[in-house]
């Protein structure tokens, strides 16, 4: 935690304000439901027959209780995660628990054996969350469960589970809308079952958290210091994480995915002055409960648009995103976890490896263009006239995938070097989220969304976010932490909105999902040339930045000393990344994985300096996307799986194996 803050405000005024607002909203809502004069009957009524009374006692009040319990539990989990992982951005969802639970529930809904069902929905979700956590831990085990390794493994696992859930949805769309409602965190209640279930589970876990207070305090020391005090680091971390995962899993399984509270509440508590661990564990849950309560009451007052259901979990993101942006103007105590210094393996002759990659890409390209499936499902090679016939369906999407993959690989490399954060990826900039917002606007504001309009909307959205990021970034001289936070906030907002749209059952949401999953289906010649042009132009600019990228890796002080004008360099690099991301995203959807994965892969292959890493990531990005597009076209013929999802499915395990091995 930062020692820089001298003034230590007390948390209670802000807490009192939030609670007061929530209470006022609750009283107002309840008085609309039931006149004040009838409130006494709430307490005395034994045989409830009046429907209004029933709704007040069995729906409204349990909902208040659930919002309080969930908010407190998620905030407590968030506080523990942030403490253990030493990362103010760690949240219950960063471990992949929510995604794992969601996936388990989806699988059980579709192929749920009766045994699973007798186990209950909550049991299934819980199992999924625990398995996801165990997998995250296993992936980070070899690296001593170091904070960074855990977060990285968790995020990758989360993305992977998310991708699998989406595949389920693409194939079984009608059946899983219920899952979406759950996934976007609707708090509506009918009875006190959920409250009771949450209550005793959370009580047990909160007591465990209390017992862990002392060991956790010691963990705020650095590793060596804590070890010298005789603590088994791994064991303590594991215990603390288990409690936090338990808290998350309970909420996720019984109520749904409410992501932002666990991130925001500890931050708010910190901002309000609760900085020491003990104070955090007390105040973060309090703020979490108040925030979710207030959010949920506001949701009930300002009901969703006609015919749609506005899940509270979505609105916490709508609240949460601006709050993060606001928080960023303050100093958030505790910087981002810096990348651990490791001696990296370096390949002696990178040129040879790069040539091999390029050759591989050429072979793959030839295969992808000629090999396909015939009407009867059999394999067929297309040459000559047959190839010309098929070319409109194969050439544009394959080449556009290639360009997009290359651009995203480059964007990811630049971003990760620029921010010196291995979690950075093009989506972190929020540009792809912006493009998605634009597309969403077009889909929902016009009744006939033609392709041109869709492209226009996505471009404008990407541009708007870019401008906003630049304005915001200039104020903070483009500090990586702030940009990262902004991007994450936007990404969460997008996730939440899409989730809410899908929960409302609006068929247009499926179109959006299709694009979000990285489908190259709609790519035609025009789009292909456009993508190729953008790739040629932007990738030609990248080599100009190589010296900066090498220098900037030395750290702010060193690179300034070596004559780099940091804010100018950052601005230019961000512009380039934004361009690469927007162009790539427009073609193949807001994939995050290629941009995240390929710079890592290049490094793991021994390409450490900027130039070879960039070239490697570009080639690898192209390789991954071309094979993803091809596989998506042929594997489940006549179904086509979106290239973005396939990229995730191919890349995820590769990256996870590499992570686990090192």
């Amino acid at each position: 935690m930062s020692m820089l803050v001298s003034r230590a405000p007390r948390p209670w005024p802000l807490a009192a304000l939030l609670i007061g607002l929530a209470l006022a909203a609750t009283v107002w809502s309840l008085s609309r439901l039931l006149p004040l004069s009838d409130w006494l009957t709430l307490l005395s009524a034994t045989d409830v027959v009046d429907m209004r009374l029933l709704i007040a006692t069995q729906s409204f009040l349990p909902r208040v209780a659930v919002s309080l319990l969930c908010g407190a539990a998620l905030a407590l989990a968030g506080a523990i995660f942030q403490q253990v992982l030493r990362n103010p951005l760690a949240a219950p969802t960063t471990l992949g628990i929510a995604a794992g639970a969601k996936l388990a529930l989806g699988l059980a809904t579709l192929w749920g054996a009766p045994a699973l069902l007798s186990f209950g929905r909550d049991g299934v979700a819980m199992a999924g969350g625990v398995i996801a956590m165990a997998a995250t831990m296993a992936l980070a085990w070899r690296r001593g469960l170091s904070p960074l390794a855990v977060v990285l493994a968790g995020m990758i696992l989360g993305l992977y589970c998310g991708a699998l859930s989406v595949i389920l949805l693409l194939f079984k769309e009608h059946y899983l809308t219920g899952l979406f409602i759950w996934g976007s965190g609707s708090l509506s209640q009918q009875g006190w079952d959920v409250v009771q279930g949450l209550g005793w589970r959370l009580a047990v876990l909160a007591i465990c958290a209390g017992l862990l207070l002392r060991p956790l305090t010691l963990l705020t020391l650095d590793d060596a210091g804590a070890r010298s005090l005789g603590l088994s680091l791994q064991l303590m971390r594991l215990a603390a994480l288990t409690v936090a995962v338990g808290l998350t899993a309970v909420v996720v399984s019984l109520v749904g995915v409410i992501g932002f509270i666990g991130l925001v509440a500890p931050a708010v508590a910190r901002f309000a002055g609760a900085r020491r661990l003990g104070a955090q564990l007390l105040w973060a849950p309090l703020f979490g409960a108040a925030l979710l309560w207030l959010t949920d009451q506001s949701v009930q007052i300002f009901d969703g648009p006609a015919g749609s259901l506005l899940p509270t979990g979505t609105v916490t993101a709508l609240f949460g995103a601006p709050m993060i942006l606001w928080l960023m103007r303050q100093r958030i105590a505790g910087g981002l976890a810096a990348a651990e210094a490791r001696t990296e393996w370096r390949i002696p002759r990178p040129g040879l490896l790069l040539s091999a990659l390029a050759f591989g890409l050429a072979v793959l390209l030839a295969l992808a263009l000629t090999l396909g499936r015939g009407p009867d499902g059999g394999w067929s090679l297309a040459f000559g006239a047959a190839f010309v016939d098929l070319s409109p369906w194969r050439v544009p999407r394959t080449l556009a995938s290639l360009c997009a993959g290359a651009m995203l690989g480059a964007a990811g490399t630049i971003l990760q070097r620029l921010m010196r954060n291995p979690m950075a990826s093009p989506e972190v900039l929020g540009i792809s989220a912006g493009a998605s917002f634009g597309l969403m606007a077009v889909l929902f504001l016009t009744s006939v969304a033609s392709r041109d309009l869709q492209i226009l909307g996505a471009t404008l959205g990407a541009g708007a976010v870019l401008v906003a990021m630049l304005l915001l970034g200039r104020r903070s001289s483009f500090s990586p932490e702030r940009m990262l936070l902004t991007g994450i906030a936007l990404g969460a907002l997008l996730d939440a909105l899409v989730g809410a749209l899908a929960a409302s059952g609006d068929p247009r949401a499926m179109l959006l999902m299709t694009w979000m999953t990285g489908s190259t289906y709609g790519v035609d010649w025009v789009q292909m040339f456009w993508a190729a042009g953008a790739a040629a132009l932007l990738l030609a600019l990248a080599p100009l930045a190589l010296r900066w990228l090498d220098l900037i890796a030395l750290g702010d002080a060193a690179s300034t000393a070596l004559g780099l004008r940091l804010s100018l360099v950052r601005l230019l690099l961000l512009l380039l990344t934004a361009g690469l991301t927007a162009a790539g995203t427009l073609v193949v959807g807001p994939l995050t994985f290629v941009g995240l994965m390929t710079p890592h892969l290049a490094r793991l292959l021994g390409l450490q300096r900027a130039a070879p890493q960039l070239a490697g990531a570009v080639l690898l990005g192209a390789l991954v996307m071309v094979s993803a597009d091809w596989l998506g076209r042929i594997v489940a013929f006549p179904w086509q799986m979106p290239a973005g999802l396939i990229a995730t499915l191919i890349g995820g395990p590769v990256l996870m194996t590499l992570l686990a091995r090192r």
């Binding site: 009918q190 609006d506 179109l511 006549p638």
Partner: protein
């Protein structure tokens, strides 16, 4: 369908093509003036079921594997080629099948430019803000009948439809005093409820039932609401459609609000086999028939 019977049926249709083409030239897409379009690929379940009932099943359909889960009736001939997902029909496959025309809806406007490269796209609106789905479906049936060169098939279908609605109306007269909720159970706490601007609302109007849900609905005529929104003063009945997610019925039985709903207490809750809520005339008929078969049985419980 028996393939042999189908052959006879089709041949009979073909003889009538000429007259049809001459009679309705102004209304028919230009391609159909020269010769009827019989090899049709459908991007929509509703249009496909209409084609089957008109006697000219599509040669290819999206998501054909889920037909029995959502549509059931009329049965899908086994010869229909599955084109894959509804938003991304397989274009290589579609091109290889060489359809005369591709039937679609404005919902897929985003990919029409791709489909146009294979065959003319006939986009029939089934959901537009100013129309009612059943009337639009009837119009679509007439248009399709002209396209395939069998306008009298549309008349036959309409007669069938009217007879079906009339019969349902008669059989349901005893229950017409009770408004009805039409829902899909989404999970333990939420339902998707069909109201104004939905296909089933139009059918209710025609078979003399009142919809108990008068709240707002979206573009497609439904709303997603919590179960507590179903409170109703006075007698009502509730119809839920299969498929129901596993475990939901058991969970509802323990739900105090569900159990306090007037129609639940009165036992006026009835499950219906699947009927396509976004379908056309055949689905409307199936819905009316299922209602007429199942709802009156409730009384005897």
């Amino acid at each position: 369908m028996n393939p042999r019977l189908k052959g006879v049926h089709l041949k009979e249709m073909t003889r009538r093509q000429l007259a049809a083409g001459l009679a309705y030239t102004t209304l028919v897409p230009r391609a159909a003036q020269a010769k009827p379009l019989r090899r049709l690929a459908s991007m929509d379940y509703g249009l496909a079921e209409t084609l089957i009932c008109l006697g000219c099943p599509p040669i290819a359909l999206v998501a054909a594997q889920d037909w029995n889960r959502w549509v059931v009736e009329p049965p899908l001939p086994e010869t229909v080629v599955n084109l894959g997902t509804s938003r991304e029909p397989n274009l290589e496959l579609l091109q290889a099948l060489k359809p005369d025309a591709i039937l679609s809806t404005p919902y897929l406007a985003g990919i029409h430019h791709r489909l146009e490269a294979i065959a003319p796209v006939v986009s029939l609106p089934l959901y537009v803000p100013e129309g009612t789905p059943l009337a639009l479906a009837e119009a679509a049936a007439r248009k399709l009948a002209l396209m395939i060169g069998a306008p009298e098939a549309a008349e036959a279908l309409q007669a069938q439809e009217q007879a079906c609605f009339a019969e349902a109306r008669a059989r349901l007269a005893a229950r017409a005093h009770m408004p009805v909720f039409l829902v899909n159970l989404m999970d333990e706490r939420h339902v998707r409820i069909y109201g104004a601007k939905s296909l089933f609302q139009d059918v209710l109007d025609r078979i003399g039932l009142r919809n108990a849900w008068t709240g707002a609905t979206n573009y497609w005529g439904f709303a997603t609401v919590g179960i507590e929104a179903l409170q109703h003063y006075g007698e009502a009945q509730l119809v839920y459609f299969d498929p129901v997610p596993p475990g939901v019925l058991a969970s509802l039985a323990r739900n105090p609000i569900w159990n306090a709903l007037s129609f639940v207490k009165a036992g006026h809750v009835c499950g219906l086999p699947p009927a396509l809520m976004f379908g056309c005339v055949p689905s409307a008929m199936r819905f009316a028939r299922l209602m007429a078969e199942r709802l009156p049985k409730l009384e005897r419980r």
